[in-house]
């Protein structure tokens, strides 16, 4: 009894810095941001934010009215980021799984290769995406050079301006993203007991049957976590768009993060920007809750 109470008095000192940090740097700003989303906060009212006019759901109405400039852009940006995720999340997972299976085989130099494939993951975003921006240049770029050498195109394609922008960013994102999936899945593969495969071989199962009946089911839980995390991070997507296409990627490749950045810090509509961030946050939260519920039901 005495021991327990001693613990209670002590632990607070250990957690206090973290609690203090998270309260002031996470939770208060988030609540404050949600509050701002109900204000008409712009260049003129920013000097004293608490006297800015309260507009209720006015900002939310604006960002979902497709006739208005910001509404049209926001709806399009949501669609863009979903389309982006529908391609990059599964592609990253499938490539990651394929390479994890490959790196789980025995071959000479395996440890070196396992380290090398992590390079894209550890190289700073700014470096990776600047290099890809260089690679996707129309006249001097590697991609067009290869496509021309293979006779797939007659004229160099413009990648980084207009409708093709989002595809260029997808390629770069997949290239940067799959090593993480691979790393996690490889760890998952290594934790599968060898006895399962031995038993399957004795029963006469071939490689494909082993994959379908042992490997894949055993990887299912970690795959779920991985896909959930990458779907959430997908909505955070910013760096690749900002570096490769600038803060204004054009209608075809605008994502919520770049749109909010411009709306708040170029057009100085902080209220509208906050409303859009709040919607983005709500989408991510709903996704998380649904997938956690779905997984719980799977277990039962």
């Amino acid at each position: 009894m005495k021991k327990a109470s001693m613990h209670k008095t002590n632990v607070i000192w250990f957690l206090l810095p973290a609690i203090f940090g998270m309260l002031f740097v996470h939770f208060i700003p988030i609540l404050w941001g949600i509050y701002i989303s109900f204000l008409d906060l712009d260049l003129y009212t920013i000097a004293s934010p608490w006297t800015a006019p309260f507009v209720g759901f006015g900002n939310y109405v604006q960002i979902f009215t497709s006739g208005m400039d910001v509404g049209t852009k926001f709806i399009r940006s949501l669609w863009n980021v979903i389309f982006f995720g529908i391609i990059t999340v599964p592609a990253g997972y499938i490539i990651g799984l394929a390479v994890a299976l490959l790196l789980n085989q025995k071959f000479v130099g395996r440890n070196l290769v396992r380290g090398l494939v992590l390079l894209p993951y550890i190289t700073p975003d700014s470096v990776c995406y600047n290099v890809w921006r260089f690679i996707f240049q129309a006249r001097i770029g590697l991609v067009n050079k290869i496509l021309m050498d293979l006779n797939l195109i007659k004229e160099p394609l413009i990648w980084l301006v207009g409708e093709r922008g989002i595809y260029a960013v997808m390629v770069a994102s997949i290239w940067k993203g799959w090593p993480f999936a691979s790393l996690i899945l490889l760890a998952g593969l290594q934790s599968i007991p060898h006895e399962l495969y031995e038993a399957a071989r004795i029963d006469g199962a071939n490689k494909w049957q082993q994959f379908i009946n042992i490997t894949f089911p055993m990887l299912l839980p970690i795959s779920g976590t991985l896909l959930l995390l990458s779907s959430i991070w997908n909505f955070h997507a910013f760096n690749q768009f900002y570096v490769m296409l600038s803060s204004d990627p054009g209608a075809g490749a605008d994502v919520p993060s770049t749109l909010i950045l411009r709306e708040a810090f170029s057009n100085l509509h902080y209220g509208l920007g906050s409303a859009m961030s709040t919607v983005l946050m709500a989408i991510i939260m709903i996704m998380t809750v649904i997938s956690i519920k779905a997984r719980r039901e799977e277990v039962h």
């Binding site: 810095p17 996470h26 085989q105 190289t123 700073p124 260089f134 590697l142 976590t225 810090f265 998380t288």
Partner: protein, 291 residues
């Protein structure tokens, strides 16, 4: 087909696959390295449509000027210094706070422990952009009313980045500390250490690998960040991640110099990662699986 031939074919396929993967991973790096040794004129004059002028893998003339002139048009060395200060600051604050919190979570049973863990986890779900506007307004507010400048200061950036690194650091260290046997604490306490004394004299020395991994994770996170840097830093504190963009302006594209700068900028991260690869990989894996 005999067992032997099938195995040989299998082996060939594996090596073929490894080759394809390595080409896909290393290709862009080769292009970056080759670009960094080209004359910028060569890069700018190259043209995929003109025979003889196509951009090439091997520079027509290998020059080192890009590395020598890396600081000439863009103050990249200043930005490098800014990045070092911000990243090292973030590293130390994250380490201190996450040791304390990780130790608290690992060694104590208390009311609200689950709530605390969920709160830590949930902060990872929020998109960075959702914090940016409130931060900007709070930073302006502090500056105007309390006279504490945070925008475009090292302190402001360190606070910002520490808070984003913390959730992952805390959970990673908790997992690491969980693997340090509890008997060791008890032994230390029997030998006359207080709970806090045990932490500093016994637990921390035993957890150096975990602490190093946490430190490097937060260093790399701060080194790579772009979104907050694009709004909250300015002349005084601009980090390399933003500085790289300055090589390309409306007037001039200095791709060759930018590639050289890219290599210089990657070096600290690559060194740190290589030194601590095992710990970071273990940390990442357990972070994703146990998180």
């Amino acid at each position: 087909m005999t067992f032997k031939t099938r195995q040989t074919i299998n082996q060939i396929l594996v090596y073929l696959g490894v080759f394809v993967v390595l080409v896909a991973v290393l290709g862009p790096y080769m292009w970056m390295v080759s670009g960094s040794f080209k004359d910028n004129l060569e890069v700018q004059a190259s043209d995929v449509t003109k025979k003889g002028l196509e951009p090439s893998w091997i520079p027509r003339k290998i020059i080192f000027d890009n590395y020598r002139d890396v600081n000439k048009t863009v103050r990249i060395l200043d930005y490098f210094k800014n990045s070092i200060i911000i990243s090292v600051g973030t590293m130390f604050t994250s380490i201190v706070i996450s040791i304390l919190a990780g130790y608290g979570l690992s060694r104590f049973r208390f009311k609200g422990k689950n709530l605390f863990t969920v709160a830590v986890l949930s902060t990872q779900m929020f998109p960075g952009i959702a914090f940016l506007i409130p931060y900007f307004i709070l930073f302006s507010f502090f500056n105007r009313n309390l006279g504490i400048p945070l925008k475009d200061t090292y302190l402001g950036m360190i606070i910002t980045y520490t808070s984003f690194a913390l959730p992952f650091c805390i959970l990673m260290l908790r997992n690491f500390l969980d693997s340090v046997p509890f008997e060791i604490d008890e032994q230390a306490q029997i030998d006359g250490c207080t709970k806090t004394g045990a932490l500093f004299r016994v637990i921390i020395p035993l957890s150096t690998p975990g602490i190093a991994a946490v430190g490097i994770y937060s260093f790399i996170m701060a080194w790579n960040e772009i979104l907050f840097a694009s709004v909250l830093t300015g002349r005084e504190t601009k980090p390399v991640s933003m500085g790289l963009l300055e090589y390309i302006t409306a007037q001039a594209s200095r791709w060759a110099q930018m590639m050289a700068a890219c290599i210089v900028v990657s070096i600290p991260v690559l060194i740190l990662f290589t030194a601590m690869q095992k710990q970071i990989v273990e940390g990442l894996v357990s972070g994703a699986t146990k998180g």
